[in-house]
């Protein structure tokens, strides 16, 4: 959908030090076991300690990221809360499931069950902000976050909200990694996470997790970025994708030459590289190609980290060497194309621009 919405603030909890991103990406976090877990933050700044004790990781990280995003924009109560998550709380789901099996369906703790429901973060964010407005949770694998953004675009265009808080969160667990390894999600020989993209000749990727929130508005004041256009594709072939990107650029009044940076969700899996190979040959030589999944790992809503990074780059106007895949011409970063593919063939494209 091409309808420009302004992003007033963004916050991300990720494996990197993104929450207080002073020197981002330094100090960089990396791993050689294929599992990038988030760098914890001080959750007591957002949630009272009594509640924290019973809360699962995903609730802590998503509530904190959501509240920090609002704080940065100086908005206490949004008009709508819309999120996307592929997995919800894996920890609670696994815990309730394993208890149910081992305790033979007796004496189960309801907290795990409650927290396993996919919309529990939304309920908490509504309570914390006293937002009684529109509230929605998308659970569609690699399109979950994009659907939340699409809904926010629609709400703002309908005029039924001034501020829409849109976000995403997904959680990695040791069991999740173990189970998905049986269906070849991950690389058999795990490189250091920072070497992920250099290992794109073999199948598999590395796992990650994170939460990212964005405050969207149809008003330009104080905007950090503008999301000009968003596309969600399912099982696209090369022709579908290149046609869709052409349409998006056209709708934004842009051409490939105007794109300063393409931020790709390349995840080191040779089976999925074809998606990016559709677009990269069309880019102008001056366009920089960058990557981000070596920093956050692969997960259903990793494009949320991608969008956070794009906004960061627009603000700092500096592209760290660590994310550069192909260096383009130096110059101001005005337009970024984010291109993402998730393991189960959900593909998305976003045009994110400097607000001026």
């Amino acid at each position: 959908m091409t309808y420009p919405v302004y992003i007033l603030s963004a916050s991300a909890i990720s494996p990197q030090h993104s929450f207080y991103p002073g020197n981002f990406p330094d100090p960089v976090v990396h791993t050689d076991d294929g599992q990038l877990f988030i760098t914890d933050i001080d959750y007591t700044r957002y949630i009272n300690p009594v509640a924290i004790r019973r809360m699962s990781r995903i609730l802590k990280m998503s509530i904190s990221a959501g509240l920090q995003c609002l704080k940065e924009a100086g908005v206490e109560k949004p008009d709508a809360i819309i999120t996307g998550t592929g997995r919800g709380s894996m920890t609670d789901t696994e815990r309730f499931l394993i208890d149910m099996i081992s305790l033979q369906e007796e004496a189960l703790n309801p907290t795990y069950f409650i927290q396993s429901t996919y919309n529990s973060t939304n309920g908490w964010l509504a309570m914390k902000t006293q937002c009684t407005g529109y509230n929605q949770t998308y659970v569609h694998r690699g399109a979950s976050f994009e659907l939340a953004l699409l809904d926010a675009q629609m709400l703002l265009q309908e005029g039924s909200a001034q501020y829409a808080l849109a976000g995403c969160f997904d959680e990695l667990t040791r069991d999740y990694f173990f189970v998905k390894n049986k269906i070849d999600y991950w690389k058999k020989e795990l490189p250091d996470s920072l070497e992920l993209i250099q290992n794109s000749h073999t199948p598999g990727t590395i796992a990650g997790e994170g939460a990212a929130f964005f405050l969207l508005s149809s008003k330009k004041e104080q905007a950090a970025a503008v999301l000009q256009s968003l596309s969600i594709l399912n099982d696209p072939d090369a022709a579908d994708l290149s046609e869709q990107v052409n349409i998006m650029l056209g709708n934004c009044g842009l051409s490939y030459d105007d794109i300063d940076l393409v931020l790709t969700g390349m995840n080191g899996d040779c089976r999925q590289q074809y998606i990016y190979d559709v677009i990269t040959p069309r880019l102008a030589p001056g366009t920089t190609i960058a990557v981000f999944k070596h920093l956050c790992g692969e997960y259903d809503t990793s494009s949320g980290f991608g969008l956070w990074l794009a906004i960061r780059l627009l603000a700092t106007q500096e592209i760290p060497e660590l994310i550069i895949h192909r260096k383009g011409a130096p110059g101001k970063i005005k337009h970024i194309l984010i291109l993402n593919h998730y393991i189960l063939n959900n593909v998305s494209a976003m045009v994110v621009s400097h607000p001026l």
Partner: protein
């Protein structure tokens, strides 16, 4: 004036059966679909009553039009496919699917948990291969959505929503909005959930299930019975329906999504959340409370829901408002509840009937009104409201109007 969004096709599968005739026969006769579960392998089977669909997966596979021996399809997906097959039995629709842009908006709460919970020990064992690997990717809520969109060729948009018990009511709202925004011309919206030990035990651990038949709006209500099912409706703009000669079954004239912002699982006790949502739907439809001839209530028969919803109904409507919960018939089908009850509401308009609230005996102390307890026929219904209120404070009210 914007074009009206209308419903032109339905598909439904619940413990009452499939299709309009089977459902209406039970609804009119006051005959519920609850039983001790046979297909769900739970140690509580002898104690609990569930709205379990009486067909084994093999039968569902056939109904869904799939060849036998289809590994990789969970009961959740099979239920959804059987309801979709009914919706798409109209050949014209299948032609449209190939030529025009559709959205498929599905709602679900636990994905293929019904299968995964039986295989999970294999998932986390040292075993690397085996039949279980075909189900590793079925735990997430989108697995049924993706299977259906691919199998029936619904494109280009698909989405899966999970807002607990209001999930499929939200699917309708999203479909209508996408059509209004011009993202797609038509949308197939609904939801599905199969019974799982995970959910049965989850609700039992919360102590809000009744081992007897549930008693919505009764002073002695003691919780819900869970159920399983799936339902889908086709939404399009009225002129598009007229142009292709489709029969308009009802108009989706109002909807509202709002949040209680009160508690993770309990509704605001004064009913203010439910009240806000019902008011929002009326405002959108341009209707007053007097215009609503029947409310198909959320009515789970939990202590807190019926208390909050009942108070909200009494605050907004006059004391002669007709309302009932049809959950005693089907059980609470979670992500499918909103759509199944929407379809019941559409049929109420078409047949001009109001369904009885089964198992009601004693009026609630807190309430002046009581639900409808006998089948009402020849009721002049113009507008029907359907409520869906969920965990996380996720509330949706929908209003359907006679075409």
């Amino acid at each position: 004036m914007t074009d009206r969004i209308v419903i032109t096709a339905t598909g439904i599968h619940s413990a009452l059966g499939t299709g309009k005739n089977e459902h209406l026969a039970s609804l009119r006769a006051g005959k519920d679909g609850l039983r001790h579960p046979v297909h769900l392998q739970t140690i509580h089977a002898g104690e609990i009553l569930l709205g379990e669909i009486d067909k084994p997966n093999e039968t569902l596979t056939r109904m869904a039009g799939l060849p036998g021996n289809n590994p990789g399809y969970t009961r959740t997906t099979l239920l959804a496919m059987s309801a979709m097959a009914e919706l798409l039995k109209d050949a014209d629709l299948c032609t449209l699917l190939r030529s025009e842009p559709f959205a498929f908006i599905n709602a679900n709460t636990v994905g293929g948990m019904c299968t995964v919970e039986n295989m999970y020990p294999d998932f986390i064992s040292e075993k690397q291969t085996g039949p279980f690997t075909q189900y590793i990717n079925t735990l997430d809520c989108a697995e049924s959505t993706e299977h259906i969109a691919r199998h029936f060729g619904v494109k280009p948009l698909m989405a899966t929503i999970s807002t607990a018990c209001s999930s499929s009511a939200n699917a309708l709202v999203l479909g209508a909005r996408m059509i209004r925004q011009g993202l797609v011309k038509r949308a197939i919206c609904g939801g599905c959930d199969a019974l799982s030990r995970f959910t049965v035990n989850g609700f039992r651990s919360l102590k809000n299930t009744d081992d007897q038949r549930c008693r919505p709006f009764d002073e002695h209500r003691n919780g819900l019975n869970l159920g399983e099912g799936a339902g889908y409706v086709l939404l399009e703009k009225e002129p598009d329906a007229v142009q292709r000669g489709a029969t308009v079954q009802a108009i989706l004239s109002g909807y509202c999504n709002s949040n209680d912002a009160y508690h993770p699982t309990a509704p605001s006790p004064d009913g203010s959340g439910a009240l806000r949502t019902m008011k929002g739907a009326l405002d959108m439809a341009g209707l007053t409370p007097e215009d609503i001839g029947y409310i198909n209530a959320h009515g789970t028969a939990t202590i807190s829901n019926d208390d909050a919803e009942g108070k909200a109904i009494e605050q907004l409507f006059s004391d002669d408002i007709r309302y009932s919960s049809t959950k005693p018939y089907t059980g609470h089908t979670l992500a499918a509840a909103g759509i199944i009850e929407s379809i019941f509401s559409i049929w109420a308009l078409q047949e001009q009937i109001v369904y009885p609230n089964l198992n009601f005996r004693t009026p609630m102390l807190e309430m002046r009104t009581t639900p409808v307890t006998t089948l009402l026929e020849n009721v002049a219904l113009q507008h029907v409201m359907s409520n869906s209120f969920g965990f996380g404070g996720n509330n949706v009210s929908l209003i359907f109007s006679k075409s």
